[in-house]
C-alpha cells in the first residue's frame, strides 16, 4: 500500500512535465487533476486490459477468474447477497438493492472508524500518561512492549471470548491492531518534541500540565496522525478478517460467503468494493489531516 501511494505521488509530481505548454493560471489546477485522473484510469486500465486479454485468449477460466465485464455484468443479481441489517450470520435475504450494498459497506466502515477512533484516543491517553506519571510508565510500558508484536489475528479468539459475535469483536480487533503501535508511537513522538519548545514554555513559567497541554500535545498530533494513516490499511485488513470469522456481517462476511459458495464473481465484486472503500477512506483521512493538522508542512503530511 505504501508503494502504491508513492506511485500516485510521483504521478502527481510528474504531471507538470507533460509537454502541454502552460495552462492559464486558473485552469492549471483542473488540468493537473485531469491528468492525475488520466493516469489513474491508465493504471486501472492496465490491470483490466490484461485480465480481459487473458480471458479472451482462454488463459483465465471465466468460472474461477471472471474478468470485470463478467463479474460486473450481473451486478443486480449480486446485490441480493448483501444483507444491510448488519447483525446476522450467514444472511442472504433482505438484500437486493444498491442501498443494501451501501449498507454493508457502511457497517464495515463504521467498525473501522469506531475502532480507529477508540484506538487513537486511548493510545494517546495511555502514551501521555506513561510519560507524565512515572509510576504509570513503569507499570505499563513493559506490558505494552510485550503485547505490541502480537498479531491482531492472534487476538481473534480473545475477541470472541470477550465479546461473542457482532460489532464489538470487530471493533475490538481494529482497536488492538493499532492501539499498541500507536501507544509506542506516542512515546517516540513525545521524546522527539524539540527541547527548545519545552524550554521556551518553562521560561514563561508554564507548569508541567500546561507544557503537556499547550506544547507537547500540539507538537505530537501531526506525527501521530501520520502513524495512524500508515496503519489504516492494517485496520481494514483486520476488520475484514474479523467479519469473515466472527461477526457474521459486513464486507468480510460477504467475501467469505462468496468463497464458500464458489461465487467467483461475487468475490471479485466485493474485492473491488473493498479497494474503493479503502481508497476513499484514505483520501477522506488525508483531507482531515491537511485541514486540521496542517502545521507539519506538506512534505510530511501524507508522506507514507
Amino acid at each position: 500500500m505504501a508503494i502504491s501511494d508513492t506511485g500516485s505521488r510521483r504521478m502527481r509530481r510528474a504531471a507538470p512535465r507533460i509537454p502541454f505548454g502552460g495552462w492559464p493560471e486558473a485552469g492549471r489546477a483542473t488540468g493537473r487533476a485531469a491528468i492525475s485522473a488520466g493516469w489513474w484510469c491508465a493504471s486501472l486500465g492496465l490491470l483490466v486490459g490484461f485480465w480481459e486479454l487473458a480471458w479472451a485468449v482462454g488463459w483465465a477460466n471465466p468460472i474461477l477468474l471472471p474478468p470485470p465485464h463478467i463479474f460486473l455484468a450481473d451486478l443486480t443479481d449480486q446485490f441480493r447477497y448483501f444483507d444491510p441489517t448488519g447483525g446476522r450470520a450467514g444472511a442472504m435475504g433482505e438484500g437486493g438493492s444498491v442501498w443494501s450494498v451501501l449498507g454493508v459497506v457502511g457497517w464495515t466502515t463504521m467498525r473501522v472508524t469506531v475502532g480507529l477512533v477508540l484506538g487513537f484516543v486511548l493510545s494517546l491517553f495511555v502514551g501521555v500518561a506513561i510519560r507524565y506519571f512515572d509510576v504509570v510508565g513503569k507499570l505499563t510500558l513493559p506490558l505494552v512492549t510485550i503485547l505490541a508484536p502480537i498479531s491482531p489475528v492472534a487476538w481473534i479468539p480473545v475477541a470472541v471470548f470477550l465479546f461473542g459475535i457482532g460489532n464489538a469483536p470487530a471493533i475490538f480487533l481494529v482497536f488492538v491492531a493499532i492501539f499498541f503501535v500507536m501507544t509506542l508511537s506516542t512515546l517516540t513522538q513525545i521524546d522527539q518534541v524539540p527541547k527548545e519548545y519545552i524550554q521556551l514554555a518553562r521560561t514563561v513559567g508554564a507548569s508541567k500540565r500546561q507544557i503537556y497541554r499547550h506544547v507537547i500535545l500540539p507538537a505530537i498530533l501531526p506525527g501521530l496522525f501520520v502513524t495512524l494513516r500508515m496503519n489504516l490499511f492494517a485496520a481494514w485488513m483486520v476488520v475484514l478478517i474479523a467479519e469473515a470469522v466472527g461477526v457474521g456481517s459486513g464486507l468480510g462476511q460477504v467475501t467469505m460467503m462468496a468463497r464458500n459458495t464458489f461465487n467467483a464473481s461475487l468475490v471479485f465484486f466485493t474485492m473491488t468494493l473493498i479497494g474503493l472503500t479503502g481508497f476513499l477512506f484514505d483520501k477522506a483521512f488525508g483531507l482531515i489531516q491537511r485541514k486540521v493538522l496542517w502545521w507539519v508542512g506538506p512534505s510530511n503530511v501524507g508522506g507514507l
Binding site: Q199, A201, T203, H214, A219, W295
Partner: protein, 261 residues
C-alpha cells in the same frame, strides 16, 4: 544587595553518565547593571549558551551563584526572557498567539492580552502579520516575533543566544538597529551572545571575551562611543582589531585542544 543581574564565580561541569566530565565554565563573574547592554564573545564550545541557560533558570550551576536584584536565581522567571538562535516559535500558533503565549500561560485575561499583543506587534513592525503562521514569515520577521514574545513578559533582562546568526547580513544589520531601538525604549538590560565581532561592536556597552573551554573571562572591553556607531571610525577599527585578536587566540587554542583529543 546589588540591583540588576549578578553572576558571581559561576562554574559549570557537565557529568554525563559513563563519560568524562566536561568543564564548560570556570569562575565566571559578570555584573550587568540595569539597562546595560553586555555582549558575550567567545570561541565555540566555551559555555556561552550554558551561561545564558543558567541565568534563565533552565540549567543549574555547579558552583557560584546567580542573583537577580539580590534574589538567587533557581528557576525561570518573567523578569528574565530568553531568545534562542532559531526563533522557536510554535508552528501551530499564529504570530499573535505565539507572542501572547506567555501571557496566556500566566492567565492574563484575553482582552488585555489582545491589547498588549497588538501593541507589541506594532512596535516590532509586525502589525499586519498577526494572523499569519510562523512558516509564512521570513527569518527576520520570525526573530522579531520572538523578540515581541520575549518583551511581552516585561522582562528586566533579555537573554539572547546568537539571535541573528541564522539571518543574512543585511537583515542582520536591520535587526541590530531594531533591537537597539527596542532596548532604548524599554531600558531592559541585555545579555547577548554572538560570534561576530562586528555585531558585538555595534551593540555593546561592554564586551566580555571568553577563553576557550573551560570558559573564563579573558577580557572586558567597555565601549563608550554613542550609537549608531560608525564601524569605520578609527577608534572602532582599533577596538575591532583588538577583539578579533583576543578571539583568534582562543579559537586557535580550542582548535589545538580538539586536535590533541
Amino acid at each position: 544587595m546589588t540591583l540588576g543581574l549578578s553572576i558571581s564565580n559561576v562554574s559549570k561541569t557537565f557529568s554525563p553518565a559513563g563519560r568524562e566530565p566536561v568543564h564548560a565554565l570556570r569562575d565566571v563573574s559578570i555584573e550587568v547593571a540595569l539597562g546595560e547592554f553586555v555582549v558575550l564573545l567567545g570561541p565555540s564550545g566555551c559555555g556561552k549558551s550554558t551561561l545564558l541557560f543558567m541565568v534563565a533558570g533552565l540549567e543549574s550551576t555547579t558552583g557560584g551563584a546567580i542573583a537577580f536584584d539580590g534574589l538567587e536565581v533557581r528557576a525561570p522567571g518573567p523578569e528574565r526572557s530568553l531568545i534562542f538562535q532559531e526563533a522557536s516559535l510554535f508552528p501551530w500558533l499564529t504570530v499573535r498567539e505565539n507572542v501572547g503565549f506567555g501571557l496566556s500561560i500566566r492567565r492574563v485575561p484575553p482582552g488585555e492580552r489582545a491589547r498588549r499583543v497588538d501593541e507589541l506587534l506594532r512596535r516590532v513592525g509586525l502589525a499586519g502579520a498577526g494572523d499569519r503562521h510562523p512558516s509564512e514569515l521570513s527569518g527576520g520577521m520570525r526573530q522579531r516575533a520572538a523578540l515581541a514574545r520575549a518583551l511581552a513578559m516585561d522582562p528586566e533582562v533579555l537573554l539572547m543566544d546568537e539571535p541573528f546568526a541564522a539571518l543574512d547580513i543585511q537583515t542582520r544589520a536591520r535587526m541590530q538597529d531594531h533591537l537597539l531601538e527596542m532596548w532604548s525604549s524599554t531600558r531592559a538590560s541585555v545579555l547577548l551572545v554572538t560570534h561576530s565581532v562586528e555585531e558585538a561592536l555595534a551593540l555593546a556597552d561592554r564586551i566580555v571575551v571568553f577563553t576557550a573551554r573551560p570558559g573564563r573571562i579573558k577580557a572586558e572591553i567597555p565601549i563608550t562611543a554613542p550609537r549608531p556607531r560608525d564601524p569605520y571610525a578609527p577608534e572602532m577599527v582599533e577596538l575591532a582589531k583588538h577583539c578579533s585578536m583576543l578571539l583568534r587566540e582562543e579559537v586557535e587554542k580550542s582548535f589545538k585542544e580538539q586536535e590533541l583529543l
